[in-house]
């Protein structure tokens, strides 16, 4: 099997400041790769650089669409934007960054459908209801505006909006950050359910090891912009090799 996404020697600097350096990643279909590290370690820089939100300074990103291998940093802006709105999805930490607040919940979910050419209102409505159901939002809220939603509901709506067209790769930056602990747990449950049911291929960033342990198959541990350790999630967390990972594991997982 071929990886759906592979990243080689990726570097991103902000002037002289390291954002992330010498990063590598391999994501196979149906796999979840978690990126973990303390605040400022470069997680957001990395995920933004491999999803088209930021342009890295150097490196290579290959995306397998099924028909061809796309050299993501070499393709035209137009192809890149097309890919971003069809094959890729990005779930932001703050759902307000990923939603249109002046468009109804259903309208938000409909956008990707219509941008790939769906033109049947009735079918689109049905798909919206189906996805609201999947993310556990009551159908009756379809026509309400996001501003009337709680933080957890907004995040679930953002997830539905992104998954509705079955994108090949889903990027998530701290999808449970900024939420109450009880709400976080519910979103995590939901994500775990969706990942299993839909066999999603995901790169997820979190500073919370528990989140990564729950969702990820593989893990990359970052510190000061670099990967200090990576491998199968269970292996790395059960038998951390790098002292920083050991510190992370001992401080977080005992709780």
């Amino acid at each position: 099997m071929q990886p759906i996404l592979s990243v080689h020697n990726l570097n991103k600097y902000y002037g002289n400041q390291v954002g992330c350096k010498n990063m590598n990643l391999t994501l196979y279909p149906g796999e979840v790769v978690g990126v973990v590290g303390e605040s400022g370690s470069g997680k957001t820089t990395f995920i933004n650089s491999i999803s088209g939100n930021l342009i890295p300074d150097s490196g290579k990103i290959l995306i397998e669409t099924g028909n061809e291998t796309i050299d993501f940093l070499e393709i035209s802006e137009s192809l890149k934007r097309l890919l971003i709105r069809t094959e890729l999805a990005f779930v932001h930490q703050n759902p307000r960054d990923g939603l249109r607040l002046d468009v109804s919940a259903g309208g938000n979910i409909s956008e990707r459908l219509m941008s790939i050419g769906q033109r049947n209102y009735g079918n689109i409505r049905q798909t919206i209801f189906k996805w609201l159901d999947k993310v556990e939002i009551d159908k009756s809220r379809a026509d309400d505006f996001p501003r009337t939603f709680s933080g957890g509901m907004l995040q679930r709506l953002q997830i539905a909006k992104n998954l509705v067209t079955s994108p090949k790769i889903i990027f998530m930056d701290e999808p449970t950050g900024g939420l109450d602990v009880s709400v976080q747990a519910k979103i995590l449950d939901l994500l775990r359910k969706l990942v299993r049911e839909l066999n999603l291929s995901v790169v997820i960033v979190s500073h919370d090891l528990a989140v990564i342990r729950l969702l990820a198959d593989k893990i990359i541990v970052m510190k000061n912009g670099e990967a200090v350790e990576s491998g199968l999630c269970d292996q790395v967390l059960d038998d951390p090799q790098h002292s920083y990972t050991q510190l992370l594991v001992s401080s977080v997982l005992q709780v």
Binding site: G106, G107, S110, E111, R119, Y121
Partner: protein, 293 residues
């Protein structure tokens, strides 16, 4: 195309016009610049071409874009008609017509069929246009994506990449809220199966007339400094859904003057008791019907 391409030679236009003005007010360099924009616009139907709008002796919002386009197309043997919401006799239409009479000394008409150039605000004449006629629209807001995205560079990209999903989101919201597509004016269209275009605030009733029209259709937005165009016989379709198809219908009334039930009607209050009636918004169409009866 002939009229647009017939570049004026200064020497033979001097004849009887007011000496103070260059023919049709604008200087020849400006006209050349606008004609270039027009030709580019005709080559890429529905694409908005930036142009550098000139100060005109009328405020923005009063048709400065349309007037500059018309000026740049005019030749000495043109016959011009100006309508505002379909009527030849409103203050605005009269003043623009007088402007061209004075600065270009050309013939004017109210008859749609006799005009070689028709400048319009908010309507397309009822009478079918012909080849070699030019319809010039006055446009307040040329960008159909402006409601969503105020940044010019971003809308430019969206057009370039046909990122038009959001246009249907707008229609989706409309149906969801109202049970049908409520948009009745400035109803968005796709031109030549490529660019989404704002047809200016004409009623959706007029949208089908843009499609496959033998005349040249030019759109000028003065304040926003954009020109766009539909060449003759170009496909223009109104956005819709399969199960909510575009419906150009109008209020089911007859004109109380000429009796037409095919023309677009204005609702007017006829007396102090607030009684209402409907009359053709296209005054020339209505008058012609009365004369022929």
């Amino acid at each position: 195309m002939n009229n647009v391409l017939k570049f004026k030679n200064k020497k033979n236009t001097v004849a009887a016009q007011d000496e103070i003005y260059n023919f049709a007010y604008l200087d020849e360099n400006t006209k050349r610049m606008i004609r270039r924009a027009l030709i580019k616009a005709l080559c890429i139907p529905g694409y908005q071409v930036p142009f550098s709008s000139r100060e005109m002796p009328m405020p923005y919002g009063w048709g400065t874009g349309g007037v500059q386009v018309t000026s740049s197309c005019l030749t000495t043997d043109d016959v011009i008609k100006v309508i505002d919401q379909g009527a030849d006799d409103t203050t605005n239409a009269v003043s623009i017509r007088n402007f061209f009479k004075k600065t270009a000394n050309i013939k004017t008409t109210e008859k749609t069929s006799q005009a070689s150039i028709i400048q319009t605000r908010h309507r397309i004449p009822e009478e079918k246009l012909k080849e070699k006629q030019i319809l010039v629209y006055q446009v307040p807001i040329p960008e159909p994506l402006a409601f969503l995205e105020p940044r010019y560079q971003e809308t430019k990209k969206m057009h370039a990449l046909s990122e038009y999903g959001i246009m249907h989101v707008k229609l989706y919201e409309d149906i969801t809220k109202n049970g049908h597509i409520e948009t009745a004016y400035a109803y968005p269209v796709k031109t030549n199966d490529r660019y989404i275009m704002d047809p200016s605030p004409i009623p959706k009733f007029d949208n089908p007339k843009m499609n496959n029209n033998p005349a040249i259709q030019l759109f000028g937005a003065g304040r926003e400094q954009r020109i766009y165009a539909i060449p003759p016989y170009t496909e223009v379709t109104s956005l819709d859904f399969e199960d909510y198809p575009f419906d150009p219908s109008k209020a089911p009334h007859k004109c109380s003057i000429c009796g037409s039930n095919e023309s677009f009607l204005d609702e007017i209050i006829t007396d102090d008791d607030g009684n209402r009636s409907f009359i053709c918004s296209d005054t020339n169409y209505c008058n012609q019907r009365m004369e022929n009866n």
